[in-house]
């Protein structure tokens, strides 16, 4: 115990040495970006060069994953902080501009400077330039393996022909050993080129969705035919599967973007790039979206710093630096001076990349875009899953898009009502305080008398109150407000409207039921498997400690990678589960991730695997407290194992298991990670959701913060009721409380 104090003090000391709060440095420029590792390395080198040339400047780049960067930046900027520069694709500008967390670049540079850039690199909105791009990219192209294909297809008919020639089952075992074409075809972004190829587009000049069109239906049918009629693409292929197949030389062609090409070279594939084909029936090119990627300035940046930022940008955006990047990682620059360079005429990849960019469409930057993606995805995946017809899918997409756009732009209702509501809330709070005034007096009196007790408990309580109470109250207030995209800063209290909306939400009840099923099945198996294993491992078995350590591993290894590994195991063609089902049990393979029930089952299975070790450990501990004599007495009385289990073991481990089970229920109910990872954020068609994942999507994909707050409160109240139920029931089991 004396050592305890020593170590504690030592670690505090080390801690203070290590990571004290870094004061904000006025000379420090922070860039957030989402560049892939190779690009990031180039940026790092260029920044180092800049700092050498300009002593007195300090620049730091920080990588963040795209979605996280977006939500992280929003949170940081609203809080008055955040990086000075944010680098990412152009479509993040829409929301940022609306939330007023970035400032335009028009004041930084002269008109002549802007004219040196490819016009697509200047991201304009409402007459101002919000982002200056140094690359045009993210465009999908056709990538082909030169070992199998010498001349890439120019039209869709040629594509199908080449695909058929290259979809081969070498050893006649019924499994395709090489596919003609693979790609992440279940993701809308990867579907867009075919939509444009058939003459369709996602919205009109006023950004109203135009998804229910004949062109959409034709494009949907085309994709279906590729798989079902011509059979040149795999039954199930997400991004990683397609990528892997091409890298292993098991696919002749892949459709993928510029970020991926060099990785194929690294994997030893002799690859070639070609523009996406022309659809013969329309005569149109398949046009992918092209996204400029560039820098925007945080609205919180102090004016004095702007000059420094300008210098840095001039350096990074110069033709020399852009060419450097282009030659190293095959990106496409935005400075017109760069286009005269030799490499754009001789490097096969860059030449074809340029052609594709010219044949591409700019990625829309408006906020509605997000609604379009989320509206397209579920019906699109349902069509591919065979659940609905293309005609109905197109209708669905249109309806969903219109609804979601309305939700993002939810208007401020009855502000006068909100005014009165505020008074009501205030009065309610005062009234509640008045009700418990007796307790408050008693508390103060008691405090003076029994200081020791309170000294024991207060430190913990203060921390808990501070960390939990403030966010909780904030959330309660938000739930009565209309905080959303258009009202990030100027939000106001509007009453119970958000709660009303939650219950009106179509999917609320089905998602709620799903959550209950999810929780019940998971906890049931966690406990039964955990307790059963603990009982087995409690015996005198040589080698049991090895089993114990191995069985702990699902808990010890980071959830992220194991959940994704499980997702891989559920793949239709290559996953271990189906292979075991077919080879060992002789059953048919199951399309796990494409059907709602099966996908849900997959997520549950993964979570059971992740969760039983915890219960096993608790049960092991609980079992230790049962005296052996009880079992021996039972043996003498001739009890069978059933009697011993139900009359001795289970009752006596209850006191320790019940708290763990209650917590298990709560944690499982709120477990966002596993659902999100195994089903890839709700696939198929947004049907694999539990309440928390639904809230997460609402909050961070649609910026409906007020709505999400109300939703969170409802989840809270549900579990709160559960708590009360548990507390009442276990009043009998006084040993716990």
């Amino acid at each position: 115990m004396r050592n305890f104090k020593k170590y504690f003090i030592l670690s505090i000391f080390l801690l203070l040495l290590q990571g004290c709060s870094k004061k904000s440095d006025d000379d420090l420029i922070i860039i957030w970006h989402n560049m892939r590792p190779e690009e990031k390395q180039v940026l790092q080198d260029q920044i180092n060069e800049f700092m050498k040339l300009n002593p007195g400047f300090k620049v730091i780049e920080l990588y963040k994953e795209t979605e996280e960067m977006r939500s992280g930046f929003i949170i940081a900027a609203i809080g008055g902080q955040g990086p000075d520069l944010i680098y990412g694709p152009s479509d993040q500008i829409g929301p940022f501009e609306e939330m007023q967390i970035i400032i335009p670049l028009d004041s930084l540079f002269e008109q002549e400077y802007f004219e040196k850039f490819n016009s697509r690199a200047l991201i304009r909105s409402n007459g101002k330039i919000w982002q200056l791009a140094d690359k045009l990219g993210n465009h999908l192209t056709l990538v082909y393996n030169k070992k199998f294909i010498q001349t890439p297809p120019k039209t869709d008919k040629e594509l199908i022909e080449l695909g058929k020639q290259n979809t081969i089952d070498f050893d006649g075992d019924g499994k395709i050993d090489r596919y003609g074409l693979v790609w992440n075809y279940t993701e809308p972004y990867f579907f867009i080129p075919f939509l444009t190829g058939f003459g369709g587009w996602i919205f009109d000049e006023n950004y109203r969705p135009t998804l229910n069109t004949l062109q959409m239906i034709n494009a949907l049918n085309f994709i279906k035919d590729l798989r079902d009629k011509y059979k040149i693409i795999p039954n199930e292929a997400d991004y990683d599967i397609a990528d892997m197949l091409f890298k292993e030389g098991k696919a002749a062609m892949i459709i993928n973007g510029d970020w991926s090409w060099s990785s194929y070279g690294n994997a030893g594939i002799d690859y070639g790039i070609a523009p996406l084909p022309i659809i013969e029936s329309t005569g149109l090119h398949c046009k992918p979206m092209v996204a400029p990627k560039g820098y925007s300035i945080n609205a919180n940046v102090k004016p004095e710093k702007i000059k420094k930022i300008k210098k840095l940008l001039e350096f990074l955006l110069s033709p020399e630096k852009q060419l450097e990047t282009a030659s190293k990682v095959k990106t496409f620059p935005s400075r017109k001076e760069a286009y005269d360079e030799e490499m754009f005429k001789s490097d096969e990849v860059l030449v074809n990349s340029q052609v594709q960019i010219q044949n591409g469409v700019g990625l829309p930057i408006v906020t509605e875009m997000r609604a379009i993606w989320d509206a397209m995805r579920p019906p699109y995946q349902a069509v591919l899953g065979g659940a609905i017809l293309p005609e109905n899918a197109a209708k669905e997409m249109q309806l969903l898009a219109e609804r979601k756009i309305k939700e993002i732009r939810e208007e401020n209702e009855q502000s006068t009502f909100g005014f009165y509501f505020q008074f009501f809330l205030l009065a309610l709070t005062v009234f509640l305080l008045f009700l418990i005034r007796k307790q408050i007096y008693a508390f103060i009196k008691n405090l003076k008398e029994d200081l020791f007790v309170y000294a024991l408990t207060l430190p913990a309580l203060i921390i808990l109150l501070a960390v939990i109470l403030y966010p909780f109250v904030y959330n309660v207030i938000l739930s009565f407000s209309n905080m959303s995209l258009s009202k990030i800063r100027g939000w106001s209290i509007i009453g119970l409207h958000q709660y009303y909306k939650v219950f009106q939400e179509q999917q609320f009840y089905s998602v709620f039921i799903k959550t209950l099923i999810w929780t019940f099945i998971n906890v049931f198996f966690h406990v039964t498997i955990g307790v059963a294993l603990a009982i087995l491992l409690n015996r005198d078995l040589p080698g049991k400690s090895i089993f114990r350590v191995l069985l702990i591993l699902p808990w010890a290894i980071p959830q992220y990678i194991t959940a994704l590994t499980w997702r891989g195991m559920f793949n239709y063609e290559y996953g271990a589960i189906n292979i075991i089902l077919t080879k060992i049990f002789g059953l048919g393979p199951v399309e796990w991730l494409k059907s709602p029930t099966e996908a849900f089952a997959a997520a549950i299975t993964t979570n059971i695997w992740l969760g039983f070790p915890f219960m096993m450990v608790i049960a092991l501990g609980a079992l230790q407290s049962i005296p052996q004599e009880l079992y021996e007495a039972a043996d003498i009385d001739g009890a069978k194992w059933r009697h011993k289990l139900f009359n001795i073991t289970i009752p006596l481990i209850k006191p320790v298991m019940i708290p763990a089970i209650v917590l298990g229920v709560i944690w499982t109910f709120n477990n966002l990670n596993v659902i999100w990872l195994v089903s890839n954020a709700g696939e198929p068609s947004d049907s694999t959701h539990i309440l928390v994942s639904y809230v997460y999507k609402a909050a961070f994909n649609f910026y409906r913060f007020g709505f999400a707050a109300a939703f969170s409160m409802i989840i809270f109240l549900i579990l709160f009721a559960f708590n009360i139920f548990v507390m009442r029931k276990s009043k009998a089991e006084e040993s716990v409380y």
Binding site: I75, P659, W667
Partner: protein, 276 residues
């Protein structure tokens, strides 16, 4: 006798099957870590791919600040563990032994804190930390992590204290100890097993937490392991090999901690069986 053999064989069979099913995905992770070219999946089920390599592990330690992250995580987790143990042991004791105003609310409140979905808390927590200037500092993170782990730990400690008879402290007081000494010298050592669970839980909470750390820590020098590992992950260009290798390495300290602590788990808890 024969029946006993049969039962034992049956038990081993069950254990082996379950263990194999349990570690199969983990073996998969290992396969990903020795497979070159960042392939998350594979068409074959083979465990050791033909072109296996330990390069990712070397890359991890040589070219990435993996050791720095480990050190950072270690410091944070250690302090959280100590704070957790210190605060949970005292608070749990008070809740076990004394009746006082607010006791019921505190007990209930502890349970309630577990309910909040993380989504609810992110934005306000961020704003609060900014106002307190605790952003990008370890103090902020430690406070949040302690708050996360405390409720469960306090509950555990209290439950365990309840099984230790009060007569021990009574005799200590008679012998002249004051209340603190009775607690610190007599009772606390007996609660060692529960302290162990508390320590383990607090450590795990801090060691593997991602969301809060991502929001608070902005300086790459301050990154903890989860943040560092996440940086290998990119929207469509994840360095799976590195990611898998790092995940396995990261679990080793946890497993070691388990092995060490499971000793205490067994012997200590028997002390609690003073039932009537």
């Amino acid at each position: 006798m024969k029946k006993k053999y049969l039962t034992t064989i049956l038990i081993y069979a069950v254990l082996i099957v379950v263990t194999l099913a349990t570690i199969y995905p983990i073996i998969n992770v290992f396969t990903i870590s020795i497979r070159p070219n960042n392939k998350l999946f594979s068409t074959t089920l083979e465990i050791i791919p033909e072109d296996w390599t330990f390069n990712q592990y070397i890359e991890l330690f040589a070219n990435r600040p993996f050791l720095l992250w480990t050190w950072n995580s270690f410091i944070i987790s250690l302090v959280v563990t100590f704070t957790g143990v210190a605060l949970a042991s005292t608070t749990g004791y008070a809740l076990s032994r004394y009746k006082f105003v607010g006791k019921k609310s505190i007990l209930f409140g502890l349970l309630t804190t577990q309910i909040f979905p993380a989504t609810m808390l992110l934005l306000p927590m961020y704003i609060m930390l900014i106002k307190l200037q605790l952003l990008n500092s370890y103090i902020g993170i430690i406070i949040v992590y302690s708050a996360t782990a405390l409720p469960f730990c306090i509950w555990q400690m209290k439950g365990y204290y309840d099984t230790i008879p009060y007569s021990l402290e009574e005799s200590a007081r008679i012998d002249g100890c004051n209340r603190w000494q009775a607690f610190y010298i007599i009772v606390l050592p007996l609660a060692a097993p529960a302290l162990v669970i508390t320590a383990l839980f607090s450590f795990m909470t801090a060691w593997s937490e991602y969301i809060v750390a991502a929001q608070i820590l902005q300086d790459t020098d301050l990154y903890t392991l989860p943040l560092g590992i996440k940086s290998f992950q990119s929207n469509m260009s994840t360095e799976w090999g590195l990611y898998a290798a790092a995940s396995l390495v990261v679990s080793i300290p946890v497993v070691i901690l388990f092995v060490i602590l499971s000793r205490w788990l067994v012997s200590g808890l028997t002390l609690g069986s003073v039932k009537g």
